[in-house]
Subunit: 464 residues, 2 copies
Amino acid sequence: MQSGKKLLLNAFNMNSVGHISHGMWTHPQDQSPSYSSLEYWVSLAKTLERGKFDGLFLADVIGTNDVFGGSPDAALHGAVQVPINDPIIPISAMAYATQHLSFNVTANLTYEKPYLLARRFSTLDHLTNGRIGWNIVTGYLDSAARAMGLTEQIRHDNRYDMADDYLDLVYKLWEGSWEDDAVERDRKTGRFTDPQKVHRVRHNGPFYQLDAIHLCEPSPQRTPVLFQAGTSSRGRDFAARHAECIFMSSNNQNVGVTKSIVDDLRRRAVANGRAADDIKIFVGVVVVVDKTEAGAQEKLLEFQQYASAAGGLTHFSASIGEDLSRYALDEPITLQSTQAMGAILDSITRYNPGAPWTVRRLLEQMKLGSRNLPLVGSGSQVADQLAAFARETGIDGFNLMRVVTPQSYDDFVDLVVPELQQRGVYKTDYADGTLREKLFGKHAAHLSHRHYGRQFRYAPEGNN
Amino acid sequence: MQSGKKLLLNAFNMNSVGHISHGMWTHPQDQSPSYSSLEYWVSLAKTLERGKFDGLFLADVIGTNDVFGGSPDAALHGAVQVPINDPIIPISAMAYATQHLSFNVTANLTYEKPYLLARRFSTLDHLTNGRIGWNIVTGYLDSAARAMGLTEQIRHDNRYDMADDYLDLVYKLWEGSWEDDAVERDRKTGRFTDPQKVHRVRHNGPFYQLDAIHLCEPSPQRTPVLFQAGTSSRGRDFAARHAECIFMSSNNQNVGVTKSIVDDLRRRAVANGRAADDIKIFVGVVVVVDKTEAGAQEKLLEFQQYASAAGGLTHFSASIGEDLSRYALDEPITLQSTQAMGAILDSITRYNPGAPWTVRRLLEQMKLGSRNLPLVGSGSQVADQLAAFARETGIDGFNLMRVVTPQSYDDFVDLVVPELQQRGVYKTDYADGTLREKLFGKHAAHLSHRHYGRQFRYAPEGNN
């Protein structure tokens, strides 16, 4: 992190009971089983705004973690991302209760019609006054494909080709259909919109076709802030072109691995005609914090009593597409699937490189219900470690995972945020404006001129 | 209306500037141009709850009213349902600000994946505590089809065959996948859900296929309250099987036409093994009310200064699929399209049966910006007319269209609601419970046992 730069911070969450730290819903203070009430979400949003979080990042998965044991039973038993509700629904209630907090919501383009998705995000952008981001995913679960009537999911690289085509289409709707001054709202003339300034979008791509005007007038950001999380080579290419924010898994605070990915992503962005810091990079982190280091260690032990390593293993099996129930406890794991393997091996090998991976070792690592190792300490210690990690790796901020909710967020707001602020590495107040302006500065409400999507903006004749 | 029966009441609205009474956004008091702010929606919801409205009915259209003149220009000019935002997005903010008001939201099944739509409505039902209805539409605009990459829309009857298949699929998810007591939430055993009580849904219909469990735990109503609006013969068959509430266009208070449709709908319901009053029938109505009849007439004249008959004609052209810009002002209209023609002719012929229809006559009828003739009078007069119309036709309630918003709703709440209450034909307080319980009585949170969809409920072995 450069001097003067402020750490960015999202809460990482899901409209479900278990998200990352599985089993924690059994903790007496954990409120995640109330995920289906609006009070739960509004209260969370207020807590995050109190802590000046930039955003609430709402992950999502369509389908169930049904690789472990070849059925959804283990996931159902432990509430491992199932049941799971639609992440978009609670947003307007949270937006109404807050002023600055943004909402970065996941939508899977493989299964959503682009014309409707474009309208949905324009509406969100309008109603939140520009506090919306889209986490672009293409999905990885066969169970989702079967739920859509396909026999198996579309091949990985092909999904990204479809995603490129999809993005071209929605850029045309968001950027190119309505001119900035198309809407006149003139009660005197009775002309609400100047039809000459609304352009028909024609798209005839390899996967998607459309002939229509966009249904929404220009929203504060037009294109929502684009988030993306893939770290495969094809995923990084996609991100270098489209993403304004990238979410990386924790890699368990491994500086070397993280830095090499960060450097590569920024290089690819520059190769795409963008500036290196046109991409904001967030790393996932699990924090257990208390007033003292001893208190935090005690809290960790207390949390571990409720965590479910079995839940973690169920989730991990689906993430890597490998049924780990078929291994004996001490049998070396020989992974067949290459899916997401690079990042995953990076993230687990730091724990004890060299020794062969077994289910027993995984279970040991998953003492908080996931493969993510927590950062444990006093507020001051955690703040130091986060700042150092950001400085050494060149990332821009963190996606804070919950352990016990809302306690994890309250603890962070009460104990870590003031320490970060004291160090001058975290904002003491929100900047005005849309999410994109908060991230990239004043007058940056719209896609940067260096961004690929900007070419789809309507330009006057002769400048098109 | 039977004695003791209470009138039901929805506000009819759309996430757009112009909805039915076109041009009224030019009125100095009209706030519809603020449709893209949450304050607008939350304030409206509070007004409706003050008036003990049963629900806010959110219409929607995907595509533009581009039949008139063969382009969307006229619709854009006058804000005739374009721009239009996604109706689902503001619901959670309104639900958080109210306790009893329900939300009947339109979703077009032709363009939404059933697996995702099922999750979206389950989520809405959870977060609103069962205050959600789904207005099932199949769409009627070619422009929507072109926006989806099709060259023209799917044929009318075929759309209903698809809808039948779609409904079977979502019933299986909502009713059949999770048993009532599947979720244990047991912090002691660590078992959130009993996997034995979650059933895999297999659907292999002519149009839709799926193999998955539903992603959501059972919501208060399971299946949202089902609204439907088609009055073609095929549409009525569909409604008699699926709909719990039917929305009919105003027919301009024509008792005979309305009663014959109502009787036919109830007959069809009974033929489907249901009770005649298992279907609640709502009729659209435009009301202009003031303290006195003279005041109301004056208000009508004032409103008419702002209305746009051209906007009404633009909307009407799209509704009937006929470009009325091709007719000279006094040339008799010879309609080519049969689409929705029955209901539409019913609704206009009352005005002046016999004389041939011309654009001039239509424009005269559209003095409030739509083909709907307003009911004008003092609160007492309007209450009498509404009660009499309901009694004579056998309908259950009204969908109140807005002229100037929120004034139309405020006027109705302040002037008509107390009169209805005095007459004993309108509730003085909300009943407890979900929307379905409010409509059909205590312990009726779920689909009636007489409803077609109920057969998809999971039943124990031997009773399946």
